[in-house]
């Protein structure tokens, strides 16, 4: 039941959605956004593409197994916690620092971002796994 209009539009805005979700992920620490929202948006973008093309292409385009993403995400989040533990701080202690990159100016790097990245992966993987499994039914 794929329609030409849907496919065309989906292909156009697919990348926009992904870009925007990455934008949300990166700005999350200071402005509205963050790993959870970005993850849901990424998953929805991929799902839109999947529904438009009747799921056939999704396995072709999106090669990563969602189950793997879940594992990677959990490990990433856990690792940020363990690093703190190894350095002698309580589990999941986070810190931040500032770097000066010439064209961009002052950039803040927070270790919590890596934790957020883990959240992002888990959410993308989890949402996609549920939705694709259900959609395949």
């Amino acid at each position: 039941m794929s329609s030409l209009i849907l496919i065309t539009v989906a292909r156009l805005i697919f990348f926009l959605i992904l870009l925007f979700s990455l934008y949300l992920l990166l700005r999350g620490h200071h402005s509205p956004g963050g790993g959870f929202i970005a993850g849901v948006m990424t998953a929805l973008g991929i799902l839109l593409e999947a529904i438009a093309t009747d799921l056939r292409d999704v396995r072709l385009v999106f090669r990563v197994d969602p189950r793997l993403l879940i594992g990677v995400g959990l490990l990433t989040a856990l690792t940020t916690g363990l690093v703190a533990l190894l350095l002698g701080y309580p589990f999941l202690t986070s810190t931040f620092g500032h770097v000066h990159v010439p064209p961009l100016g002052d950039l803040e790097i927070a270790t919590a971002f890596f934790f957020d990245l883990g959240v992002y992966f888990v959410v993308v993987g989890g949402t996609l796994l549920m939705m694709i499994t259900l959609a395949e039914e």
Partner: protein, 771 residues
């Protein structure tokens, strides 16, 4: 610091990495697996000089600092003795396993072994009791995995399940004991606990603490009546039986008793509980060992008996008892480990472990016969072998107890009887298998296995001989510090191979000569022996266990049918009713009255309009006659909530709400065609009233909860703290995000774990349904 962490982490790391070995190296997986225990053994050795001087080491890593839980390690004489045993015997077991016939899943087998080793090292090196408990449970899990290694065999599955259930029941008791100890002393650190020994013994909680710890130790160390799991654990591959179920893991309970001895001993209750159970187990185990034909089962019961002996000695609580117990613990690891490995060889060569089908093997297997002879005679307590020395100490300790009370005279008697039985079954293994007439079915061309396979038992048997003749070096380096870390300084007295015609020597002679004479009458003796399982099969502990398990299954099935009827509305109704009755009613009764009058003046007109629309939408959802209609209306309600968030200046929440609304709409649309048609008409008038009542009650409860949460009357709000600190502490201006990833990062960790489990659950449910 790094060293001691490495001792625990190396085996665990090895167990993760081994299955990832490239295919070309798989054949040598047993060699690669030698690396972690080898390094651990060497690392443990580096502590030896300092420990034997009487030093101890204590290291701390904070884990949950606010709860007082930390990962801390403690090396003293006792933990070093165990660390050396675990890693040293671990090397031998892994070496032997390379030759042992495990055709399938070899990497997994070695990975499990290393996993166990790491967990067990964690138990003996932990100083924090919570950390000790976690490692303790990990050893139970690894034992479960190893017993069930041949998971297609019924016996393996039964044995694995039984051992896990019984040992984790003990683990539960241990945890309760730890919590009670914390109640009394306020600390979880072993070295600090030692300063509170007097307070613990005087406390009114002392009997409960003692009971919990003793149950934990008995379940792990297969003491009566928890011993029933150990014989079934023999379904494991033989190296596992040698390592976990005789040399190390079953000694964790003894380790626990030894660790708590300075805290809990010195009372009548300790003496009666620990040595009573120990003595009983020693006799029951020895009597049952005589009745076994399967050599592994014989060794299992003999292990139970020997563990009971050591337990009883710790129960004495005297310096002599501790000395004998610790020495025997070491000796038992050597001779019993060797015997298990040798039985593995006999099975490997002859194809059977049945005593009745074996005999006269000495001609074909001279080396195996010699090694078995050394190990079995060491177990029997023959002079010039290590077992003789520890048995002497045992008799001595039991004679010392004579001054203790009216009934103490039974102790030396029981000691001799137990040893006498030991002599009989030791001879059954050695003489019965290797001498006499060879049964006809047995092929004539049997011969010793390769030198590599014989190496591990040979080293262990060599230890028995060495310790029997020349105990001084090991004694001074390892045993003396271990004993003094339990029973205090100067508790150790040098061993003597011969100290004149004293009581102990006489007792040894009685046991040895008596046992050797009675060996010939083993069969009538066996028939005369009262045997619960044979006479009254329904009353044996095994039968009780089986009946209990069957009852548990039935109860589970009944509860399952009641709670999970397959109707979502039934599950929801149960959940919500329990919520209302158990929490809602008392909560509203208590907190509802504390609420002041509602101030509706601050509600803006647009908010009122939006909320009215929301309520109308919610009613419409309940009214919808078609599923699709309900889903779309629900989506509308969600969007309105999102709009409300925007108006209340919560962009993060609005964005999240919007996305989640979209996601759930899509999910609903995906599953819509699987839903049954709406059965509104099928519900009776009464049913609809009941549902309405539940809905109103839950809604009311949430309203009261929100009002209370907002009133700040119970607790001061922490919102201000977050607002002030989010940039300075978390480095972010978006407070919501800083809370999620930093301040409450632990919660988020839990939430993403739950999300993962839910997603995998959905996946499994749908994929499994297809079969």
């Amino acid at each position: 610091m790094a060293l001691i962490l490495l001792i625990i982490l190396l085996p665990l790391l090895g167990s993760v990495l081994l299955p990832l070995l490239p295919r070309s190296l798989r054949g040598h997986v047993g060699r690669w697996a030698l690396l972690p225990p080898g390094v651990c053994f060497l690392l443990s050795l580096t502590y030896l000089p300092a420990i034997s001087r009487g030093d101890t080491f204590h290291y701390t890593l904070s884990w949950f600092p606010t709860l007082g839980i930390q990962v801390s390690f403690w090396i003293d004489g006792l933990s070093l003795l165990f660390a050396l045993l675990i890693s040293g015997i671990g090397v031998l077991i892994i070496w032997y396993s390379h030759y042992y016939s495990i055709e399938e899943h070899r990497p997994r087998f070695f990975a499990y072994l290393l996993f166990f080793m790491g967990a067990m090292l964690g138990v003996v090196l932990s100083s924090n009791l919570i950390a000790l408990f976690v490692f303790w449970e990990l050893t139970s899990i690894s034992s479960f995995l190893l017993i069930g290694f041949w998971h297609t065999q019924e016996a393996a599955v039964y044995g694995a399940r039984k051992s896990l259930l019984i040992t984790s029941l003990g683990g539960f008791a241990l945890l309760a004991g730890i919590v009670l100890l914390y109640e009394v002393t306020g600390t979880l650190e072993l070295p600090e606990l030692a300063q509170h020994a007097e307070a613990i013994r005087m406390s009114s909680l002392y009997p409960a603490i003692l009971g919990c710890i003793v149950i934990g130790a008995c379940a792990k160390s297969a003491q009566f009546p928890f011993h029933i799991w150990l014989p079934n654990a023999m379904a494991a591959p033989t190296p596992v039986s040698a390592y976990l179920h005789s040399a190390t893991m079953v000694k964790a309970g003894l380790f626990l008793i030894a660790r708590f001895l300075p805290l809990l001993s010195g009372t009548q209750a300790w003496m009666y509980a620990v040595s009573g159970i120990g003595m009983l187990t020693m006799l029951v185990g020895a009597a049952l060992a005589l009745q076994q034909y399967d050599l592994k089962a014989l060794l299992a019961y003999s292990t139970i008996s020997q563990l009971g002996l050591i337990m009883a000695l710790y129960g004495f609580g005297t310096a002599g008892g501790v000395r004998a117990a610790t020495f025997h613990l070491f000796n038992h690891a050597a001779f019993k480990g060797a015997l298990f490995l040798l039985v593995g060889i006999i099975e490997h060569v002859a194809g059977t472990r049945d005593r009745r089908a074996l005999g006269g093997l000495a001609r074909g297997l001279p080396v195996t016969a010699t090694l078995t002879g050394i190990a079995a005679l060491a177990m029997a307590g023959v002079p010039l072998l290590n077992g003789f020395l520890s048995k002497e100490l045992f008799y001595e300790a039991s004679l010392e107890m004579l001054v203790w009370g009216r009934w103490a005279w039974v102790l030396p008697e029981l000691a001799v009887v137990g040893s006498l039985l030991t002599v009989i079954y030791a001879l059954q293994i050695f003489h019965g298998v290797f001498f006499g007439q060879a049964p006809k079915e047995l092929a004539n061309a049997l011969h010793d296995p390769s030198a590599g396979m014989l190496l591990a038992p040979a080293i262990l048997a060599g230890m028995c001989l060495l310790m029997g003749v020349f105990p001084a070096p090991l004694e001074a380096l390892v045993l003396a510090p271990a004993v003094s870390s339990i029973a205090g300084q100067d508790a150790w007295q040098p061993l003597a191979i011969w100290h004149g015609f004293t009581g102990p020597v006489l007792m040894s002679a009685v046991a040895l000569v008596g046992g050797a004479c009675l060996y010939g009458y083993a069969r009538p003796l066996r028939q005369a022996m009262p045997s619960m399982p044979v006479r009254w099969p329904g009353l044996s502990i095994d039968a009780l266990y089986d009946r209990g398990m069957a009852a548990l299954d039935r109860t589970g099935l009944f509860l399952m049918g009641f709670l999970q009827s397959g109707y979502l509305r039934w599950s929801l109704m149960l959940l919500l009713s329990v919520l209302i009755l158990s929490f809602g009613v008392p909560f509203i009764a208590k907190a509802g009255g504390a609420l002041g009058p509602l101030d509706l003046g601050s509600v803006e007109p647009f908010e009122a309009v939006l909320i009215a629309l929301l309520m109308a939408g919610a009613v419409a959802v309940a009214w919808a006659r078609q599923p699709l209609m309900a889903v779309l209306t629900l989506g509308l309600v969600g969007l309105l909530v999102s709009l409300l968030f925007v108006l209340l200046q919560a962009p993060d929440l609005a964005l999240t709400q919007l996305l989640i609304e979209t996601t759930s709409l899509i999910l609903f649309l995906l599953v819509l065609r699987f839903l049954p048609p709406f059965g509104r008409e099928a519900l009776s008038r009464w049913g609809r009233c009941r549902d309405l009542g539940i809905a109103i009650a839950v809604g009311g409860l949430v309203v009261v909860l929100l009002l209370v949460a907002n009133s700040e009357s119970l607790y001061p709000s922490i919102a201000h703290y977050f607002l002030e600190q989010s940039l300075t502490l978390g480095g972010g201006r978006n407070m919501v995000n800083v809370i999620v990833v930093d301040f409450r990062g632990y919660d988020t960790m839990g939430e993403i774990t739950v999300l993962s489990i839910a997603a995998i659950g959905v996946y499994a449910l749908i994929k499994l349904k297809r079969g």
